[in-house]
């Protein structure tokens, strides 16, 4: 067994888990944060993408023990109270989902790419950056539109703040 301490969505948590526990299992089963999805079990689909120390990673391809000492953000940690994160709001506005199963991973991947690249993103960049996220409904068009809109809005917010 491993004792781990980490910060999840701004809250400090400590737990004792089996060494083989995947980070996604810990988030879903111990913390009840079921917004992080398990889609494929083969590390390909990206439904489980979260931010660990600010970088998008697949929570199904990391042990909980590896995350000891890290800061984790899941889909549940994006909104501020009732106010959706700009990427969440854009997915709603542009209907960036069909069945919704891949949506948490898509949104977390979008937050990561916007944070990392900054500025308004073009369609080609977004499609390339989404290589690790699969939508089985094939609803990519509106997902890309939503990310494009969110990146432009967030770039505007950054400019306004400066």
């Amino acid at each position: 067994m491993a004792t781990i301490s980490l910060t999840v969505n701004g809250k400090a948590v400590t737990a004792t888990v089996e060494d083989r526990t995947l980070l996604v299992q810990y988030l879903r089963e111990n913390l009840g944060l079921t917004g992080t999805h398990v889609g494929c079990d083969t590390s390909q689909c990206g439904a489980c993408v979260i931010l660990v120390d600010g970088r998008a990673v697949k929570a199904c391809t990391m042990l909980a023990a590896q995350a000891d000492g890290s800061t984790v953000t899941t889909i549940e940690g994006l909104a501020t109270g009732d106010q959706l994160h700009p990427v969440q709001a854009a997915f709603r506005e542009h209907h960036g989902l069909q069945c919704g199963f891949c949506t948490p991973g898509m949104i977390m991947a979008a937050v990561d790419m916007i944070n990392r690249r900054g500025g308004a993103l073009d369609e080609q960049t977004i499609r390339h950056e989404l290589e690790g996220n699969i939508c089985r409904c094939t609803g990519y068009h509106n997902i890309v539109k939503a990310i494009q809109a969110a990146s432009a809005e967030m770039a505007g917010m950054r400019q306004a703040a400066e």
Binding site: S43, R55, A56, C60, T61, G132
Partner: protein, 265 residues
């Protein structure tokens, strides 16, 4: 996943002594291959030694005509490094084409090269550039390192610490990626060095990465794509699977080598 015992050393020395003393052990670098393999129960090591928090395995330095990359440096770090982009842009480009962004945030150069997947990108750069693999025990030239599919010269209790890449005059990497997995169906790394031209091929050979010596000889006097026109590879040494048979891959090597040469500029 079967039960395992997780260890997190904080120095290379501590990792090496754990590795020497533990039974049935695997080193965990970025985990982007090992963890999926354990999830599928295709690997079930009793002990895992996590190299992810060892500071001395990380970082990139450029000096005296070489680029030194710590084994624990992630693909994303190599891809975005201004130093790598300036010294060996082909290497930065290669790193940015591995897997997807999430994989690149965790996967490491040391993990990739130690695993020596026949379709991985990095082995072609290590062999193509004639890098030196520095381990906890010795320095291994790339030409002596790769020993067949998923096999290397590494001993059981040996850990890769860093890679020393000589800066080439110019280099290019051309990859035909499997559209689903992004692994190389064929990837060709061409480097022009002071000692001649090196052509390393990944994704195609049934023994893993290899140097295409006939191409190197042809390019010695004429560094243009057309220098390869009269050459062909023997399909009997090529991988054959549902994505492409041996004859297809043998042809693809030549096509991708020509594209790499065209990209040399």
């Amino acid at each position: 996943m079967y039960q395992t015992t997780y260890h997190r050393p904080s120095t290379v020395q501590e990792a090496a002594s754990l590795l020497a003393s533990a039974e049935d052990v695997k080193l965990l670098a970025g985990g982007q291959t090992l963890i999926p393999t354990m999830k599928q129960r295709l690997a079930a090591p009793a002990n895992l030694i996590d190299l992810g928090r060892i500071a001395e395995l990380k970082g990139i330095t450029v000096s005296g005509g070489t680029v030194t990359i710590g084994a624990g440096t992630t693909h994303a770090e190599v891809h975005t490094s201004a130093d790598v982009k300036a010294a060996i842009p082909a290497l930065a480009k290669l790193a940015g084409g591995i897997g997807d962004p999430h994989v690149r945030h965790l996967g490491t150069i040391g993990g990739s090269v130690a695993n020596n997947d026949p379709a991985a990108d990095y082995p072609s750069a290590v062999l193509g550039l004639g890098a030196t693999v520095v381990t906890t025990k010795r320095e291994i030239p790339a030409d002596d390192f790769f020993a067949g599919m998923f096999t290397t010269a590494l001993e059981e209790d040996e850990i890769i610490v860093r890679f020393v890449f000589p800066v080439p005059r110019k280099a290019a990497y051309a990859k035909f990626a499997n559209p689903a997995s992004r692994y190389a169906m064929t990837g060709v790394f061409v480097a022009v060095t002071g000692d001649g031209v090196r052509v390393a091929v990944t994704g195609a050979g049934s023994d893993g990465v290899f140097r295409w010596m006939d191409a190197e000889a042809a390019l010695a006097s004429d560094l243009s794509p057309s220098a390869l026109d009269g050459l062909s590879l023997d399909p009997s040494g090529m991988l054959s699977d549902i994505h492409g048979d041996a004859a297809y891959r043998a042809n693809l090597v030549k096509v991708m080598a020509k594209r790499a040469l065209a990209a040399l500029g």
